[in-house]
Amino acid sequence: MPSNITVVKVRGVLMVTMPADPDDSTIGELQDKALESMEQHGASALVLDITAVDTVDSFFARTISETAQMVGLMGGRTVVAGMQPAVAITATQLGLTFRLVETALSVDRALDIVSEKGERGRAP
């Protein structure tokens, strides 16, 4: 089955770029791949780039929150980067929560947050 999710290790941190309009199986794959990589590399954080994502639903939010919890149990932080304004508005209006997830304006800033450059992490 062709894979939509690639996990890359960048400076001790795991990075995943979400494709636009991810279906449920892709979102599920994200969780599996993220945890696999955490085990393999023992990274200190997972950065999820959602710049391309223009709609989210409760399944997406729930899966991300769960993944963050699991990554947390394995010793890592989770940062969601680049959420689009429209997505943020919809998520807020639908009451979707992203537990244990920090947020960043861009992947660049996300890397700053998780590295020792020490920008304070931001929980939504």
């Binding site: 969601v80 980067a81 689009q84 304004p85 508005i89 807020t92 947020t103 304006l105 931001r122 939504p124």
Partner: protein, 283 residues
């Protein structure tokens, strides 16, 4: 008035208006009036008189339209629902009928019209036909629409301005209360600005918010949540004693929000979040 288009006879050239007969004077008025299409209809609604303004407005020449039914000016939906003859009946019954509605020109384009029907009766009181005066209000309607939109834009801009006060800091000085519509505007404009400029801090100043009711407080929380989701911090400033009291009494959770009582304290906080501080110039 005579049937069809008939200009006053040329051999009266040079005669003062006041020397003309009253029927001539009425004819001159009808022929010269520019804004009103003045049309006479017989009892069945066929056109028996047409003035130049009617030709300009509706596109038909007198030759083309005389003897035709006035339903030609109505939209297909109106004709289907029997509106034209209903209006004639109401005219006869009430002595007058006025309406603002869409009408159709010869080329099929629509225009927004004000139409007044008058029953025409002879000395014995018998109905002989109808007078119809039509005014084109399309321009006015478009202008009104434009003004309304501009007013709304101005209102939106002046009540929800988003200002970049420093590199990385945007400021929203809120005025008034937050209903759902304004919150939507606020969220859209604020989030747009934050992501566009990559500003990690948004300062929301509520000095101009007179009283904070539950609705406004909830909308404010929503907005703050959305800003945090895109990756920026929020500093809420202008929290006056009365507002502080209300927020606590309403049990509003501002756990993840930095709050300050004054805008200046809030701006200092914003700079601190960015790792900046304000120091005096060395002499």
């Amino acid at each position: 008035m005579g049937k069809g288009k008939r200009a006053p006879s040329g051999d009266n050239e040079g005669t003062h208006l006041q020397d003309r007969s009253s029927s001539d004077l009425m004819e001159i008025l009808v022929q010269n009036i520019s804004d009103y299409a003045i049309v006479l209809l017989d009892l069945e609604g066929r056109v028996i008189s047409w003035n130049p303004a009617a030709e300009r407005l509706k596109g038909y020449t007198a030759d083309e339209i005389l003897g035709q039914s006035f339903t030609a000016f109505y939209t297909a939906e109106d004709i289907e629902s029997g509106k034209p003859h209903r209006e004639l009946k109401m005219t006869a019954d009430e002595g007058r009928f006025e309406d603002e509605a869409w009408r159709v020109k010869k080329d099929g384009t629509r225009f927004w019209a004000n139409v007044v029907f008058t029953p025409l009766r002879d000395k014995a009181g018998r109905l002989r036909g109808y007078g119809k005066v039509t005014r084109d209000l399309t321009e006015r309607r478009l202008a009104e629409e434009r003004i309304r939109k501009q007013a709304q834009e101005i209102l939106e801009m002046s009540t929800v301005p988003v200002v970049q006060v420093w590199e990385g800091v945007v400021l929203v000085p809120l005025i008034g209360t937050l209903d759902s519509a304004r919150t939507q505007q606020l969220m859209e404009r604020l989030l747009q600005r934050v992501t566009e400029t990559g500003s990690p801090v948004a300062v929301i100043d509520i000095t101009g918010v007179p009283a904070i009711d539950t609705q406004t407080a909830q909308h404010l929380i929503e907005t703050i949540r959305a800003v945090r989701l895109v990756g920026a911090d929020v500093v809420l400033t202008g929290v006056r004693p009365s507002i502080a009291q209300t927020l606590v009494h309403l049990n509003i959770d501002l756990a993840n929000v930095i709050t300050r009582s004054s805008l200046s304290a809030g701006l200092l906080m914003a700079l601190e979040v960015l790792g900046l501080s304000v120091v005096p110039k060395t002499a």
